[in-house]
């Protein structure tokens, strides 16, 4: 038996595999991780503090910058919570537009995950394919709201821009195109022995642990827990669409991969149905007063973002600004389990496991 010595290894905060500015202090014995501690806060911008001095409409662009890979769901969380507290009903057309953009954003976000997570374990080409396809979604968003990443698209009471002429046809074509591509990627990746070796049986989490840590999204579903807020606590118009909630069985990296790939397909299916059922005309904004005075009260809503349950907790004192605004940021919860997952793992699996969690540091740090 070779004698080894414990060593402290610092990873990040500037390291390409940490997907942002995450620092990890890892104690290793030889190549085996004994302890790992994430150090976060490098990207803390105090969104919740800033929000206390902003009106509800002004907060929306700040939410874009939290989970910058799926800004649409972030927009939706704050708008949905405010609407709930004010009791505003959203026009049909706006609901459909919201669902279409949120699901497309889910596809875009999962594509980034797919590309970067595979890049982490050494596969270069999927990254290029995924970003090529994501670009198509960003172009569609650009046409809709004039921005590629930080959309600021939704408003309390509806959405800001109506679909341009011909936009829905483009969406339809994209869904068609993406379905074909998904088959191609699946074949490309599943046939790769290195990928299978590096993901099967790595980073296993039991469903009890996952629930206790408050994991959500694919991180929870890969452990076998069928829990999707779109299905189990329906919001918006998700109860009108047919879609499955993919679950894993073992809770390892491979299951996370399978869940997310299927989620892309399900999201495409929702987009397809939404485009089919898209209402002919109608308003895109409900009648809301220009100054939003949210009645006194408290509300918590959770929605299913690509990373899990994105919650918004508003405490209002009847002013035009929130008294307290708190976001339940899924990446923050999902990252917390990292030390447990890393313990006893080989150092080479560190980036693979971290990549599998799919964190966005802007969201972790708020």
């Amino acid at each position: 038996m070779l004698r080894t010595e414990e060593m402290i290894l610092n990873v990040g905060p500037q390291h390409p595999s940490t997907h942002g500015v995450l620092r990890l202090v890892v104690k290793i014995d030889g190549e085996v991780i004994q302890e790992a501690e994430p150090v976060i806060g490098y990207l803390h911008r105090g969104t919740e503090k800033l929000a206390e001095d902003l009106t509800y409409t002004q907060i929306i662009p700040y939410t874009d910058r939290m989970d910058y890979l799926s800004a649409m769901t972030n927009n939706y969380a704050i708008c949905h919570a405010t609407e709930k507290l004010m009791g505003i009903e959203i026009p049909e057309r706006a609901e459909f537009l919201r669902v279409i953009v949120m699901e497309l954003n889910r596809v875009a976000s999962h594509l980034v995950w797919l590309g970067t997570a595979l890049l982490d374990i050494g596969a270069m080409s999927p990254f290029l394919y995924c970003f090529r396809d994501r670009e198509k979604i960003l172009d569609l968003f650009n046409e809709l709201c004039g921005a590629r990443i930080t959309y600021n698209y939704m408003r309390v009471g509806g959405v800001k821009w109506d679909a341009p002429i011909g936009w829905l046809d483009k969406i339809k074509n994209f869904v068609e195109y993406m379905r074909e591509k998904m088959k191609e990627y699946h074949g490309l990746i599943m046939g790769n022995e290195i990928f299978l070796q590096r993901t099967k049986g790595i980073g296993i989490v039991s469903h009890e642990t996952a629930l206790s840590y408050g994991l959500s999204g694919a991180n929870l579903r890969c452990t076998g827990v069928k829990w999707d807020l779109r299905k189990h606590q329906p919001y918006s118009i998700y109860d009108r669409f047919k879609f499955e909630v993919p679950v894993g069985t073992r809770g390892d990296l491979y299951d996370k991969y399978v869940c997310r790939m299927q989620e892309i397909n399900e999201a495409l299916q929702i987009v397809d149905q939404a485009v089919e059922q898209f209402p002919e005309g109608g308003a895109i904004m409900a009648k809301v007063p220009r100054v939003l005075r949210v009645p006194e009260g408290e509300v918590y809503v959770g929605i299913e973002s690509p990373r899990g349950e994105l919650g918004c907790h508003i405490v209002s004192k009847g002013k035009d600004k929130p008294w307290r605004l708190k976001f339940r940021r899924p990446s923050f919860y999902n990252l917390q389990i990292l030390p447990t997952m890393l313990k006893g793992q080989n150092i080479a699996n560190l980036v693979a496991i971290l990549g599998g969690i799919d964190i966005v540091l802007g969201e972790v740090d708020g």
């Binding site: 009791g87 220009r290 100054v291 006194e296 907790h313 708190k326 917390q336």
Partner: protein, 261 residues
């Protein structure tokens, strides 16, 4: 067609809602009216002795506030689903006195309270009500001393089985601090909100991190941003702000270093 109906139809045409006084008032007052009616309902059914009655709560503060009380639209559950800003004709003042229909979650809330009072003690629950605006969410304000016990019961008792912590946040109400947790039972598909109050000066609440692991970082965040201490927390350190930071930014009395920012 009345004046307001004309207004409404005009708004439809232009698509731009006019900010008229009626619209604004109706939004603000609907909420207040509802809450007051709700408060009354709660009081009716809550006949057990309450403690800390004098401690000002957010609701109580709102009742004391001298607010103008022009008659807004009648408070009802159906009214909630309609656009709040739509000015309604005032020709039906009688409906305003109609009491709110009982919430569908009412029996569930009462059962929660009963179980907690039986298992832990009569004074464990300070207040309880249904948060109608938030999908009739049962909300219970728990006494600080019983916080940990109630959390454990909420996780383990089969009638609760809240095995998932949705959210944990702290709120500074200026008169007191509050820790709010939103729990969810995946099996029963039910949600609940527990709140606990603490002083502002020596804010201290028992930690729940050994009940739900999810509370661990959350409590650190609350400590970091609001300065609430959590007893028996395994590692109560700053998490988002730098370690050398002075003060807790989300407290209402926090003075920023640079006012320009």
């Amino acid at each position: 067609m009345s004046e307001q109906e004309k207004n409404a139809s005009q708004e439809e045409k232009t698509g731009l809602p006019e900010v008229d006084q009626v619209g604004k008032n109706s939004v603000a007052n609907e909420g207040v009216d509802k809450r007051q009616a709700e408060k009354k309902l709660d009081k009716d059914q809550d006949d057990s002795p309450k403690e800390n009655k004098k401690e000002p709560s957010s609701e109580q503060v709102s009742n004391v506030d001298p607010k103008p009380t022009p008659k807004g639209p009648q408070p009802s559950v159906t009214g909630k689903s309609k656009p709040a800003a739509t000015p309604r004709p005032r020709s039906k003042p009688k409906e305003e006195k109609e009491p709110l229909p009982p919430s569908p979650e009412e029996p569930i809330l009462n059962q929660y309270v009963k179980i907690i009072r039986e298992k832990i003690g009569n004074e464990a629950v300070e207040e309880f009500f249904i948060n109608r605006a938030n999908d009739h969410l049962p909300t219970l304000i728990i006494k600080k001393e019983a916080w940990e016990q109630v959390a454990k019961l909420a996780r383990d008792h089969p009638d609760f089985s809240f095995n998932y912590m949705q959210s944990c946040s702290g709120v500074d109400y200026e008169t007191h601090m509050e820790v709010v947790i939103h729990l969810c039972s995946l099996r029963r598909r039910k949600r609940v909100c527990f709140r606990v109050r603490t002083d502002r000066d020596r804010a201290k609440v028992p930690s729940l991190s050994h009940i739900w692991e999810a509370a661990n970082w959350n409590e650190r965040e609350i400590y970091d941003l609001l300065g609430i201490q959590f007893e028996n927390h395994p590692k109560l350190e700053r998490i988002l702000m730098p370690d050398h930071w002075v003060g807790h930014p989300l407290r209402k009395d926090y003075v920023p270093l640079d006012k320009e920012v």
